[in-house]
Symmetry: C2
Subunit: 341 residues, 2 copies
């Protein structure tokens, strides 16, 4: 991680954790079960609600929000409530996604619903969603103008609706035979990119950027999210397993509808036939990858990722980010776009 | 229904329906599945998303909100977004409650999750929850001051957290042996009364009531909700089946933990023994009711209901509601408290 980004991470993320713990009612003693389930999901306690600490990861989303605030000339402390709210929104959606996808583990730990049951897990997610809004509401305590808080909340909830539309589309895909590349792009916009866009937009809005610059920050987040997701799809087939930690075969054997695969299915009759077979052998995976290579699916996806990356970077420059935070934003984009894992 | 209440209902509820349809994206044509599921739950379309109309009921909650606004000297039109938001909050929670309680029908129709599956129903509820917030956000378009909108949203989400705490407690009750009367009161506060309190409080806040009167309106709603719920518990055992439409036996055979039953279990050793048996015969129900009668459970619950009712009415008077809306509020309380069904 380059210097400016590292400095910002160190400065921001401790304060973020404090904000999150405060809004989620985390005191010194053991939490009750109601809050305890949420603390478990956040990685703060174990299954018996005893103190525990898992690495909280890179926390790209809140970092992006706080950096865009500073790079717009604002004070990052003012945007902390929004950064915390977005992190809670993301985590609430994971609690419900894990139920919807019947996932047993998340970040190497048993999922909330597997421990406390589907009923309690639905309710716990609902509660975290409400608390995410209360986190946003704290902007008013940081002297953000009331009219700005109302606008920020509107964009927050418009994004939530968009996210549920993305999830709706994603779940419908699994039972649909025909999914076009356009359907897919709309879906990943709603599932991933729109949230990064919100991070950047709220940071800029709270930082005092004008409407024009705020729109460029939002577009930067969106394109960055699209580039990241398409790269993830490429790594899901051609990535180095020893680096990515997941087998390239998984995206193929689970028939996941990712960009290279959808492109391949559109272009190649033999892939369509092969995919219709109830096959999951290693040989099957090799055949699928060979067809994807020969029909240009990798090239297509790589070009798409590059185009999104370039668009992201040009929107970032158009937003005229200032100071060290501006430098850190360029480094963050670089880190996300040049990754090989 | 008395004159003032009838007039207010007729005037308000058409506008409310328009507001709800507008925020839920209901146009002239057939909705897409994403919005269609929500329209189905609201009773606007059938399973195939074709136009349909079910009676929308008395809509006590939005009515209470709009009346408290007018009775505080405000214009009810300004509170419409809050009334719509509360109705959506209530409906979102029903979508998730139906999954959590594994209910097959709601208002005589198949529940959303039974038609579209648990996964889509969780997501649809999440979406309606986000849209409820967007409904609230429209207060700003009705010239409500931004600072008031932020306060109203904070109270809205604090109430949402309280509601999920109530639901959490309710679900925990089902697996708990010991539930005290105090636990029960905390639970029904969170499950029912707190939402009526929010209705009255937001109406007063938007109508321009001062902090003192707003607090009395909120307390009126809370006590009204408690009185209503305890009456419901009494009717669930001693109600006239031909009037209530549900068998008195159900609350007993399902071992529902209502106020008279919890009181009986605290007071009577023989009821505790009887309740532990795997029995559900008509004779069993008769024996349970006889014990409840003899240990004073009905008297206890009736006195509790009366005390909440009187408290509700005295808070209403302390709030000094004005004009026809004030009269309509008294009639609404009367209707809820003197009901026999």
């Amino acid at each position: 991680m380059s210097k400016e980004l590292k400095n910002a991470s160190e400065q921001y993320l401790g304060a973020l954790e404090q904000e999150l713990r405060s809004v989620l009612n985390a005191g010194p003693g053991s939490p009750d079960t109601f809050y305890g389930m949420m603390h478990y999901h956040m990685g703060w306690v174990d299954e018996r609600l005893q103190p525990f600490q898992v690495s909280s990861g890179k926390q790209i989303r809140p970092l992006l929000c706080l950096l865009c605030c500073t790079a717009s000339g604002g004070r990052w402390q003012q945007a902390l409530p929004a950064a915390a709210a977005i992190e809670l929104l993301h985590n609430f959606s994971l609690i419900h996604d894990d139920i919807e996808d019947a996932s047993d583990t998340r970040r190497g730990r048993t999922t909330l619903w597997k421990i406390w049951g589907i009923e309690q897990a639905i309710n716990s997610g609902d509660s975290m969603f409400a608390i995410a809004h209360l986190a946003m509401n704290r902007l008013i305590e940081r002297q953000v103008e009331a009219a700005t808080v109302v606008s920020a909340l509107r964009r927050f909830d418009e994004t939530c609706v968009h996210l549920t539309q993305g999830q709706h589309a994603d779940m419908s895909f699994e039972t649909r035979q025909q999914v076009s590349v356009d359907d897919y792009l709309a879906m990943i916009t709603g599932k991933t990119a729109i949230l990064l866009s919100l991070c950047a937009e709220l940071g800029a809005l709270i930082g005092g950027a004008d409407a024009h610059k705020t729109a460029h920050f939002a577009a930067f987040g969106l394109q960055l999210g699209l580039a990241f997701q398409v790269q993830d799809d490429i790594l899901g087939i051609w990535g180095d397993e020893s680096v990515t930690g997941k087998s390239a075969a998984t995206d193929v054997t689970t028939r996941k509808k990712t960009l290279p695969i959808l492109y391949g299915l559109e272009k190649s009759e033999s892939l369509r036939k092969l995919y219709a077979l109830p096959e999951n052998s290693e040989d099957f995976v090799r055949q699928v990858v060979a067809i994807l290579d020969s029909c240009g699916a990798k090239t297509y996806a790589s070009e798409a990722a590059l185009a999104y990356s370039e668009s992201a970077l040009s929107h970032l420059e158009a937003a005229q980010p200032t100071g060290e935070a501006g430098e850190a934003l360029r480094q963050l984009a670089d880190m996300l776009l040049r990754r090989n894992s």
